[in-house]
């Protein structure tokens, strides 16, 4: 069984050459020309340093290698796919992963922007919160801002955040029989965690909406809970 697993993993890198195990490290290393570097040095096991001794701002502008990230995410999807029945379930699981990332990202992001201030603030209104998602969150996670925020014409409680080319799904090709699937469900989970934390419970889903020139265009659809809408009404 373990042998089969090894084969399955190798195929992630390449289907051409699977004969030699020595092949793995050379492919796993990100190309030097990319300019991006993996940031976090692996802490020494023997060292007395723990996470509380590391300054939180040290990795503020750090970037993670795209190759490493893509590999990790492909493993996440494979792992999840083996444990679910159907696409809806798969998206839900990815969303849960995202939720766990989102709670952490929210605290860290706000700490970095407000931690030095004398009177740190939380956002309490809906539009600024959506704007935070659109710029700050996207910058923190993807290194760029999202492309648009739209308000649904039909429903008052629906907002959309649109990314023309989400980096996390750039190298994922969805098979025909699973055309419903959008792996940006992970992003949806992150957004949901952020809204939840700031007190705007919502149901967030991801949908691929290809458009001319943007085959990977993705919409993160936010359907706010009634309580969030009522609260926003009351604050007006």
């Amino acid at each position: 069984m373990s042998y089969n697993n090894v084969q399955a993993r190798l195929s992630v890198f390449s289907t051409a050459s699977q004969s030699s195990l020595d092949y793995i490290p050379s492919v796993g290393t990100p190309p030097p020309s990319g300019g991006r570097q993996s940031i976090t040095p692996i802490p020494k096991a023997s060292g007395s340093k723990n996470i509380y001794d590391r300054p939180l701002n040290k990795t503020r502008n750090a970037e993670v290698s795209m190759a490493a990230y893509t590999f990790l995410f492909s493993e996440v999807i494979q792992y999840t796919q083996k444990r679910v029945h159907g696409i809806g379930d798969l998206e839900k699981r990815l969303g849960l992963f995202g939720y766990r990332i989102g709670t952490r990202a929210l605290e860290l992001m706000v700490w970095r922007s407000e931690g030095g201030s004398k009177n740190p603030k939380r956002e309490t209104r809906l539009l600024p919160v959506l704007y935070v998602v659109h710029t700050q969150l996207w910058k923190a996670i993807f290194g760029k801002t999202a492309d648009a925020i739209e308000k649904s014409v039909e429903n008052d409680d629906e907002y959309m955040i649109i990314d023309n080319d989400p980096p996390i799904t750039r190298y994922i090709s969805i098979p025909k029989e699973m055309s419903q699937l959008s792996c940006s469900a992970l992003t949806a989970g992150i957004v949901e965690a952020l809204l939840d934390g700031l007190g705007f419970p919502a149901r967030v889903t991801a949908h691929s909406v290809p458009k001319e020139g943007f085959p990977f265009r993705t919409t993160i659809l936010i359907k706010l809970d009634r309580s969030a809408m009522e609260r926003e009404e009351a604050l007006k």
Binding site: Y52, R100, E107, G115
Partner: protein, 176 residues
């Protein structure tokens, strides 16, 4: 003078608590606070609390003995939990994370800090020490952010990290 810190998650479950006995000399504000309060406290809840335990006896000067602190424990927890109502009312409209002196209960003043992820730090204190408490909360927040970055931490599980505990105690010693 004693301080009580509670970290309460969005589902109102306490994850961490700390009782800290400050050795710092207390100046004027405490006595004025104590003298302001009895009129209020005697009216509504004073009797109840006195019946519950000797919480009112804390009013006397001098640091609280450790044994006495234990007896008051459930009352202190009740006050902290009761203040959540006020905190939740205010947090919808007030964007500040640090809510100073948001609630009062007899001689206790309650200050709160709400993190963006809706985790609440509740501090019960007697003397007025706004700036010290603010700095203390900021350090608790920083340590909390570091704690929750751990992939093994879950916002429903109690905080048992000894390093976290030591860090919070060190901050308390410095600022309270």
């Amino acid at each position: 003078m004693s301080y009580h810190l509670f970290i309460i998650n969005p589902f109102d479950t306490p994850l961490y608590s700390l009782t800290f006995l400050s050795t710092r000399p207390v100046s004027g504000p405490t006595s004025t606070l104590a003298s302001q309060l009895p009129s209020w406290s005697a009216s509504a809840f004073g009797g109840t609390v006195a019946a519950l335990s000797g919480a009112t006896s804390v009013k006397g000067s001098g640091p609280l003995g450790p044994g006495q602190g234990k007896e008051d424990r459930h009352v202190v927890m009740m006050i902290a939990n009761a203040s959540l109502d006020v905190v939740e009312d205010v947090q919808r409209t007030n964007g500040s994370m640090y809510l100073k002196a948001i609630d009062r209960f007899n001689e206790w003043t309650v200050s709160a800090f709400i993190t963006p992820g809706n985790m609440k730090f509740i501090l019960l204190h007697e003397p007025k020490n706004d700036e010290g408490i603010r700095l203390f909360f900021m350090e608790v927040w920083e340590n909390y952010v570091k704690l929750q970055l751990s992939p093994f931490h879950n916002y429903r599980t109690p905080i048992r990290s000894p390093v976290f505990d030591a860090r919070i105690k060190a901050s308390a010693k410095r600022y309270l």
